[in-house]
Symmetry: C2
Subunit: 293 residues, 2 copies
Amino acid sequence: MHTLLDCLPCFLAQARMVAKTAGISSETEERMVRRTLSHLANADYRVPSPHIAERLYPLFYEELGDSDPYRLRKQQDNELACALAKTLEPKWKTSSQPLRALVNLALAANVIDYGVGNAFDLERTIDHVMSQQALVDHIDAFEARLADCRKILYLADNAGEIAFDRELIVHGLGARRVTLVVRGGPIINDVTRKDADQVGLSALVPVIDTGVAVPGVAWERSSREFRNAFEQADLIVSKGQGNFETLEHLHDPRIFFVFMIKCRAVSCLSGYPVHTGVAAFGDRFFLTPSHRS
Amino acid sequence: MHTLLDCLPCFLAQARMVAKTAGISSETEERMVRRTLSHLANADYRVPSPHIAERLYPLFYEELGDSDPYRLRKQQDNELACALAKTLEPKWKTSSQPLRALVNLALAANVIDYGVGNAFDLERTIDHVMSQQALVDHIDAFEARLADCRKILYLADNAGEIAFDRELIVHGLGARRVTLVVRGGPIINDVTRKDADQVGLSALVPVIDTGVAVPGVAWERSSREFRNAFEQADLIVSKGQGNFETLEHLHDPRIFFVFMIKCRAVSCLSGYPVHTGVAAFGDRFFLTPSHRS
């Protein structure tokens, strides 16, 4: 999907959130904001917003003198989420529909996102999502597809969240047929190989990266390894809004999107309100006319 | 007060609101937004935000080919507010404290503001404000000061609102000693001479303008007439947030500020939450340390 004018204030908020996380001076923060404004004034809005983020974050990192300001936060989120995932095991183990429970847990964990600039409360969101389940729910169809599926590509999204992806991969999908995809480099709190290592996924499944540090997919500039894996997959699990924003236009029936709608832009595109949980195939769930066909 | 980084998204929202009001194409809207971003990237944030608005709105008007896109809206607001003010006469006429009622009505009417980009409901706000009265209330002190006061300068703010200013001026202050100040030219929905004419104030009190189209006061660039009137006044009633933002630094004990706190920036400066009604002298009402001295 294109970047909307609605997305622009979010980038300003992101600049300020990075500045706050890095604890820098107000002078540096102002410089980051001015560079954001200047960049956005001339950016191409026909690309998905993660592609604009790809260009913006390096400007922030240059000002900070740090190419991974969320490093520590990501480590902590991974630790916390691993511990939390352990305590939540009974949720899916005792469920009459364990796969649905695992998908919903992984969906709830998608609330861990520093890109949208909002505070989040993982435990509360998990309680909330688990009680409501995904509001756009194709999980039965997903389960049916799993039966005769050999190669699953799992596009991970954020640190922390990945601990719940691990649960879904190991206990819901079957680790033997899964390849995990992480970002090509640090951007926001998105997962890299380091995070897959930290939550123990690297020991269980092959991990490849997209080759680019984009909080989503940039198909044309991706590594050959990722493109091959994508083409050969029977089923693709796409976690998070950034992956959705950069893949929805493909209308690829192999893609199962799992994410929380976090902003007005995606809400307008999909026709569902912000905070809707989505666990659904391709474009079959959109309410808006352009996608209903 | 300075322009804060918090103020920047508001300018983007204003560009889009002007575009929406003018009903222009999405291409022109995008161009307006890009020019806003570009202007803000290089603007001087040490000036109050109304001074930034002063530079921005002409860029919008240039794109629209219209130097007063709120013209019609202002006329309608004046008409509606005149009619509403008439029906609300019993509110202050039957009040045990008519001056307080008139100030509160004029304060409630300050909700009519297209600069902050929010929807408003004048009748509901009036009900609300009249029931609560100003939350920062120096109206007794104001009434005492009125007793021995010969020259009152009344800085008006927005169209529509000015119908309630008229009630306060005529029935609360005494029109004979009041001079009304309007903006030097159209900007947002701020009052110009045309609005003072429309609500019948020009026939009752002398009307002068600041000489500049700023949604507030730009002292250094103001007309000599305004500056003289300002210096000679015993009491200055300053309506609206824009006037507050551009005058608060004077710490002038003659200024009685009447406005609704409409944004986080002014909320942070004053220490009061957004939506607080203020009818108070100079800097005596601030909760924040820098202003408490």
